[in-house]
Amino acid sequence: MDPQTTGDLLRNLLTAAWLLPLLGFIAEIYWLRWSHRLSKSSALCAVACIGLGFLCSFSALMVWGNATGWAALSPVEHHGSSEHHGSEASHPEHAPADAAAVIAGAGHENHGEEVAHSAKSVQKAFSGTFYQLAKFGSLKLSLDWYIDSLTLVMFTMVTFIATCIHIFAIGYMKDELTEEYEDHEVHTSHGHFTRPGRFHRFFAYLSLFCFSMLGLVLAGNIFQVFIFWELVGVCSYLLIGFYIERKSASTAANKAFIMNRVGDFGFLIGLMILWTWCGTFQFADSPTSGDAGLFTMVRGNDGKLDVSEDGKEVFLRDASGHRLQQHGQDRSIGYLLLIAAGCGIFAGCIGKSAQFPLQTWLPDAMEGPTPVSALVHSATMVAAGVYLAGRFYPMFTPEVLLVIAYIGCITLFIAATIAVVATDIKRVLAYSTISQLGYMMLAIGVGGWGAGLFHLVTHAFFKSLMFLCSGSVIAGCHHVQEMPRMGGLRRKMPITAYTMLVGVIAISGLAIPVLNIGLSGFYSKDAIVASALAYSNLNPVHSLLFFTPLVTAGITAFYMFRLWFLTFAGEPRDQHVYDHCHESPRVMTTPLIVLAVLAGACAWGWLMFDGDGNPGLLSPVAVDAEVAGEQPAESASWWKWLSNGGKEGPLCGGEAGPLFRLLADSAVVSADEPYTSLGPAKITIPSHHQIHEVHPQAGVMALIAAFAGSILAYVMYGVRGIRAEDIRRQFPGVHEFLVDKWRFDVLYDAMFVRPVHVVSAWCTGFDKHVLDVVLHTSAKVVQSVAQWDRKFDEGMVDGLVNLVGNVTRSVGMSLRVVQTGRLRQYVMWVAVGVVVLFAVLITATPR
């Protein structure tokens, strides 16, 4: 297949996957709304649409793999024995990504002969334009598409999780299938509030959300991203406020929306800077006109910033890698401006991904139905911020990356600490989400680009799993969310409990070293911690960026196990809840099982490759056996396994796994060698190799931290060796501080809300005491003038008019006597008139 055909095929498949939910939305909102309001047909429609979307996405992934010959998944020898290859080696997946260009060009000539045997000259990224909306000067606003492995993985992941959640939601939302849904949370004077069910509306919103999310992922330019960014925001708003009658829900929806707007403000600033200085929004070079996209402009063909000697300018480059010329001079963008643009775009990511300081909306967003929390507020939409940061990674200078790293670092710690004391099962998960998103941001900030996105995908699986489990618990316990009222539920709902346990282990990053088995979270978190360690090694000033996630890994394990123990283990604390609780129906548990499997195994390679790089059970392609055979089969000692980041072993997971490599394949910026910033902050971004070197250390430390956290949790909540109440009593300040969520809401209240109130009070006072007085005075003056005017009107004007009318009338009344209606009298009068006229003429005319 030639690249053109492949691109068209991919485009068509993904467009189908993208537009199917829209179709579903239209059908649900305009047709099923009226015809099948109280049936499950809208749910079936939504499930069908998103399921078909998943099939399309998966087919697209296969097509892409076939077209590229699965080059991204080619054997792992370079990583496994990286010593003799060194940093100069070019891996096919790390080849400088000329996003749109065919890689047979000059860009590959310097890659050496080693590459030739494995690196097939394949195109990894495809892009194009659906439709050009408008053109302003050099700027084109168009509907573009950009497809690389990241897009494909995201599509597959989103559609798959969405399908599972849709199916789960059929069971979860079945209460709504009535004309009289009683909302226990809303109290009116007549008791509980009752309204018609909104089953169809829920699925319509979900479909719309899926459409928006997929559009965001498929988007080929940053402006289009922005549009879908806002669309998912809207969907989020609608879904959080699904129980609109609840005050807390509507407030939460508003809060989420407003918080997002704050971030979008920065996004818009970034957009304006890019428009002004780069004149394009497109990611990739235009395949038709040959204009350079943003990535090529900033990064060139070699993935490096072309910074001027004084470090204040970044030269822009055209599609062929040369500097852009304008009026005979090199076009450039200020380095600080580039930082500002990056920070601006990242501000959008902060808002969407609930990063510090805009993190407070996400816990409140748990007011929405649990499937929404699972889909929107854990797996996909909030991950969109991370996705954008990853997608836009080439535009970020090291200084921006530092900001990202610190933001992520702060976020992950704050959220984890709050999660420790949270008692609402969904809130724990919400804070956990924020924390995990912080991990991802941190990873991207410290140069672990692949690790961040890897964690994004794995986290999506296990977090959605856990949310669904919590949803199952909530549904089973009749909408009880407080963990202190639960306990011992594993006996009542075993499937939920053990699938939840899988998720907990995964997020905690636990592994069994002896068996060389780790769940997906273990691999991804290892990779992040390793990146952070490499970063702090190179930049010792920022070593906090390593210790915080390390410690937080322990905290994560602690609060997650705390959650599990509190909910499922031990004795029931509230007998009433326990008695009424029951296992969820099949339609809800089946997605849990599926997700649990994937949450555990998605990072593993056995699906496609075994540990030696040989084709696995499901491998669609026969990898070159010779290449695979070169790799010496190493002994499977646990230490070795661990030190290699779990790349080897029966499951062949982690960075050697297909998932990570698929993601890493789409990297635009090469991480083959450390890169030192030429800007104001002299920061060095670690190379892939350097990260790899510190991987064992980091892995061991993270594993220890995780075990420590989970053991502590077991001691405190499993066997109750230490009573949590004692600790709470010993540190009441800290506990309260944490319960108050670090008092961010108080801070914001003091910083923004109060001043606004004060100012508005001042304005009110001014209005009342100055403007109102002026208005009232003038009104009184006008009133008195008007009274005078009225008197004048009535007396003079009306009098005059009436006088004229009366005179006319009286004259007419007197003259009507003359009109007798008698013909003969008229004749007589005419004759008399003639005589009189004649007499007058005769007497008046001089003779």
């Binding site: 007589m828 004759a831 005589v835 004649f838």
Partner: protein, 235 residues
């Protein structure tokens, strides 16, 4: 002398009959006197050398209009309503106003020097009778001269006779006038001036007018059909 005699006869008839029309209270007698008056007016037209007009007056006015009036009288006559008396006071007032109006008119008529009219008006044409008599006389004279049977004074006398006998022959002139030609004016017109327009357009308008009146009067006077149940069966 003869003309004077006839004039006085017919003038007195005209005026007397008109006064009788005013004075009579019986409508039928009024109609009779009106016939007399209008017929006399027709005679006056003949005296004024307007033969065709006189004939038209007889045909249309006397023979048509008055017949119509008599019909009106008969159709609307029902018993006592034929004699609708005018009160004496009204008659008196009417007579007074009439006398005043008459005095005004007579004053106007007599105070104008009609003999000066010839000098005051542009003398570009002559009266039709004069033209006729001139033309006839001249041709007469030619014939007479050719025959040389009559001497000079006799010729003049003959011309005067011809002028008298030919007077009143206005049919052809009127007809031409109605067709848009004016021989009495165009013949004496200086070179370069356009021909006069005649009365073609008024003639056409009058024709159409008559048609309209024909239809309209028939409509106005049509018998009102009284709708009777079962009337259609009779038809």
């Amino acid at each position: 002398m003869i003309e004077q005699l006839l004039f006085w006869v017919f003038a007195i008839l005209t005026c007397g009959a008109a006064v009788a029309v005013v004075a009579t209270q019986n409508v039928v007698r009024m109609a009779f006197w009106l016939i007399v008056s209008l017929g006399s007016v027709s005679a006056l037209f003949f005296l004024l050398h307007a033969d065709f007009l006189g004939a038209a007056q007889l045909l249309i006015y006397v023979g048509g209009t008055v017949v119509l009036l008599v019909f009106g009288v008969m159709l609307t006559a029902s018993g006592s309503s034929v004699r609708i008396k005018t009160s004496p006071a009204e008659a008196f007032v009417g007579a007074g106003v009439g006398l005043l109006l008459l005095s005004v008119l007579l004053f106007s008529v007599t105070s104008v020097e009609w003999d000066d009219l010839e000098s005051r008006l542009p003398t570009r044409n002559l009266s039709p009778a004069a033209i006729d008599s001139q033309r006839e006389a001249s041709s007469d004279a030619d014939v007479a001269a050719a025959g040389s049977s009559v001497a000079g004074p006799a010729r003049e006398a003959q011309a005067a006779l011809a002028a008298r006998t030919q007077a009143g022959r206005t049919v052809r002139q009127l007809g031409l006038g109605f067709l848009g030609l004016r021989p009495d004016q165009d013949l004496n017109r200086p070179e370069g001036e356009g021909l006069s327009s005649g009365y073609l357009l008024p003639f056409e308008i009058v024709s159409i007018h008559l048609l309209v009146v024909l239809v309209g009067a028939a409509y106005l006077a049509r018998a009102k059909r009284r709708v009777v149940a079962g009337a259609s069966a009779d038809l």
